[in-house]
Symmetry: C2
Subunit: 188 residues, 2 copies
């Protein structure tokens, strides 16, 4: 067997392994397993793939492939690409892992943190000082408000952080992470 054949076997195997590994992270960043696998496949292959290729590689139905790819495009992790002389649509994954992270942070903030903050503020209004005659002095309410405020400030700081990390004008995540990592190595 020629080397080229053995190499492509190995490559296929490594790709498969990577897709599975990344698929396990699906839960970690709030998408379905298939969506994560499709993303992993597109990332590791590096070239644009069409729906049929993705269906074949992942052994999933056309409907599922369509849904998952569209969701990836919605998230901004994958872009549609057109090839001349081919009516099929192709999909290409973002290749910069730090850009990927920024996208994920931005999306999750929008879907999870922002709604939480709205709810927390609404909750806070229920026991605001003006809301009842004795509310401002009731010790139970005071303690409740203190806890709620702690959580509210926490969420607010996280939000600012997420904005920082995900906006292009903010801190560069790669740099910041490395700086912190090095700072730690000096004092282990």
């Amino acid at each position: 067997m020629p080397n080229s054949a053995r190499n492509s076997d190995r490559l296929a195997q490594a790709r498969e392994r990577f897709v599975q590994a990344w698929g396990q992270m699906a839960g970690a960043w709030g998408v379905s397993r298939t969506m994560a696998e499709a993303h992993a496949l597109l990332y590791i292959v590096g070239d644009p793939m069409n729906t049929d290729e993705v269906m074949d590689r992942l052994q999933i139905s056309r409907g599922n492939a369509s849904m998952s790819l569209r969701a990836l495009v919605d998230w901004g992790l994958v872009t549609r690409v057109h090839k001349r002389g081919d009516r099929k649509e192709y999909f290409l994954a973002e290749q910069d892992v730090w850009a990927m992270l920024r996208t994920i942070i931005r999306e999750r903030k929008k879907r999870e943190l922002d709604p939480l903050l709205v709810s927390l503020h609404e909750t806070r209004d229920l026991t605001a000082s003006g809301a009842g005659a004795a509310a401002g002095t009731d010790p139970l309410i005071k303690q409740h408000n203190a806890r709620l405020d702690a959580m509210l400030e926490f969420a607010t700081v996280l939000e600012t952080l997420a904005d920082q990390a995900s906006s292009p004008g903010g801190v560069d995540l790669d740099d910041a992470a490395r700086a912190l990592a090095e700072a730690n190595e000096e004092r282990p």
Copy 2:
């Protein structure tokens, strides 16, 4: 109706609202809805509660309450406390939100990031230079390895960061977050 009654109504309502809001975050940090709700309840009430109280407040079965509370204890977000003259077990939530965040980061790293790194390393070995005659020169394999290495380094930096953030000797998250937030406000 006396003020005290109206206040306790308001308080109950606010607690309920908070529990629901926090419950929505369940997915975001990888626990079941009930687990998040139980945690929210214990946090916002602030005092230790026993299983029956949690069951009543959340309208869940004894089995579910037992499972969820135990899981929270396993995560380290809640501690068991005993009351003199009472055979029931009581549960108390960590009150420092930043300590909570550290715990969550530590747990998720252990459950998600560490296994990913193992898989990525194993995958990398499949196409290592030594693994095949022409593997080191095949351009397809070279490109694959470059992408895999980028991901591997990414995950490694995240791991260091997670260690930093979750260890007591590391960077203080609260301080770091505030510093970054302020740095941003000056240059919006």
